[in-house]
Symmetry: C2
Subunit: 418 residues, 2 copies
Amino acid sequence: MLTGMAQNDALPGFCTWLDDSNDVTTEMMRLAGKAGMISLAGGLPAPELYPMKAIESATKRALVRWGSRALEYGPITGFPALREAIATRMSEEIGQRIGTDNVLLTAGSMQALDGIGKILIEPGETIIAQHPTYMGALDAWRPRTPHYQQFTWDFEDKGFLAAADRAKFIYTVPNYSNPTGVLVGQQDRRALLALVREKRIWLVEDDPYSCMQLDGNSGPSILALDAADRNEDIYSGPVIYLGTLSKSLAPGFRVGWVVGNPEVIRALTLAKQCTDMTGSMFSQAVALELIEQKVESQMIDGLLSTYRERRNALCAALSTHLGDWFEWEIPSGGMFVWLKAKRADLDTTRLYRVAIEHNVMFCPGSAFDHAGKMHTTMRLNFTRSAPDVLEEGVRRLARAVEDSLSKLASGSSRLAVQ
Amino acid sequence: MLTGMAQNDALPGFCTWLDDSNDVTTEMMRLAGKAGMISLAGGLPAPELYPMKAIESATKRALVRWGSRALEYGPITGFPALREAIATRMSEEIGQRIGTDNVLLTAGSMQALDGIGKILIEPGETIIAQHPTYMGALDAWRPRTPHYQQFTWDFEDKGFLAAADRAKFIYTVPNYSNPTGVLVGQQDRRALLALVREKRIWLVEDDPYSCMQLDGNSGPSILALDAADRNEDIYSGPVIYLGTLSKSLAPGFRVGWVVGNPEVIRALTLAKQCTDMTGSMFSQAVALELIEQKVESQMIDGLLSTYRERRNALCAALSTHLGDWFEWEIPSGGMFVWLKAKRADLDTTRLYRVAIEHNVMFCPGSAFDHAGKMHTTMRLNFTRSAPDVLEEGVRRLARAVEDSLSKLASGSSRLAVQ
């Protein structure tokens, strides 16, 4: 799934990492807005749940309260009062003190991933990443042209253990992982933490879905486990934790944060200085009002019951329409169901194009593989659309599968005749 | 001016480019907020001119008009209606059609510079940059570890001409350059364009100050000159033009844009996908309302007369208090006065620390030099502060110079005694 970037003959070409890139995310964002399209592709919250009224009044309050300070360039580390509020919130969440120096505000978690690439990956170095890997992380690190070592929570894996001796960090999404929806258990979290301590490397814990616990409780984050053992005033451990308001409030603010060792925060701050100078104080000042008014906790019950209903609707439709071709597990949280084809010739990268003709989109598994493989898997989102839309999307997907397989069959038979 | 980043002994260190970095911008942003500090350092507009009321009502209108679409992840290229509005605005500005495909919205021009580094600089490649160079550009490209060839508008310079055969682009700020305030004349612009066409390389024209023409008119941008010759429906030339709302409306929105060849826009869109996924639709939707309501043109006369008065006040104070030690030219636009020391031992990097003790900040010249030299120059901003504050700032600066020179003299004499 290359970009097929046709480079201008007359002018200098672009960097080679772009050839390894894909525009799945760009295309997802673009086609998702097309009339009649049902997108099961993105990781988008339900827009009808955005707290519109609260945002309007939060903006008004923020402008009165902060005046021009809400419209300035601000500190690179973020709007100071929001930075403090996030430190307080994270302290409460993990039951250990997180200082302001432990926090950097970012433009969503995506910018944190970009910064981590900039400060920790010299061109060509090895990254250990939970596999399959969130495509945004693969995207963020592409300009650093890294090598990848897969990590599948197998602590006996020799390749993984050897790589841990030379890699600088391990990347993981323990809560309802993107793309698989898997919740990593507490025992595995502790094992990973022990390994990271033993090998003296960093651990990047990407945690956008902690607010989306549909069944049961995810238990403490790896950051919480480490901080509890340390019991410090200023956290100084190896975990680099990424949080965001994109899933709980609204993505359009682009407010995320990193919690980490102050040295990491300083290095990431320099990386952010090199990236966008400073975040949007306007967005951050409005987000602060929403946090102080506890808008998220007022929303959470409605959010979870909506998402639970949608997950159930999607999984029921899958059983009805796609059970012959795919298998999946019902996720206990997050936004995604991960499908694996039962047939080796059910190529989801090919299916992706056919599905678009059927006005339905999903995210092909290859987008989550650093080598662009995993061609028999796909990710479906259940948070974005109402139950009847999800059902219609799955019906279209089933027709696209039939179409794709029959094209394959006729292609094969033509080939056989020649 | 290294970061002096003390790396954690136990955990892997950070990338080497951080050692070549400086935290001038971080420190500027941080100390500028300190009580009693007079900052002549930043490139900050006058906050009392921000259109607070217009922004409040623009937010209200944007939320009613767009609903949840103003709070979503949006297309990576930016909020579609704002992208179109910028294409229209740029078409009017340069008198040639700029298509939507020619435009990418960015988080300020800074993010455009980061993207240009990502798509055009392989690690270690050569950049040709107008010298002295905007520190944000040096920052943005640091993670790509480039080499630099200086460009001083000398078209006979052999080193420059040789580098133009291998570099991918030339970077310039023709309008009231940062840091020097110099307005590049039309003849030099045409000469540069001719060279870029001949060598078949890209030209990055960074133009944040076009709205700040204090005396006279800057004339057409290089983009306008090239587009006029081409007379195309979709611009396909070598100029990559960067614009922003940070100086004309308010920086806190982080709304900037790139105009360029659609291939460049596609590559930069992929780079943005790798950086922050998508900009803040919230900010962009509000900015659109402000543009449609022509808030900038209502503001511009007041803005220019304020800035003219401030420039004059700063330059008068400089003549009174610093004329013995420095020389400068009065800029015809922009935000800065560039000072050159008359004495070789007047080291502005040392002066910077002394000045902070005197509660005044400036930007040392070394920040604008890829090699960290230019130790006898400094940049002063005149847009941020009222005339009496500027005057007091210059008085403090004069005391800091005396202090710095007397410390130097006593240091030298101690040295002579030993």
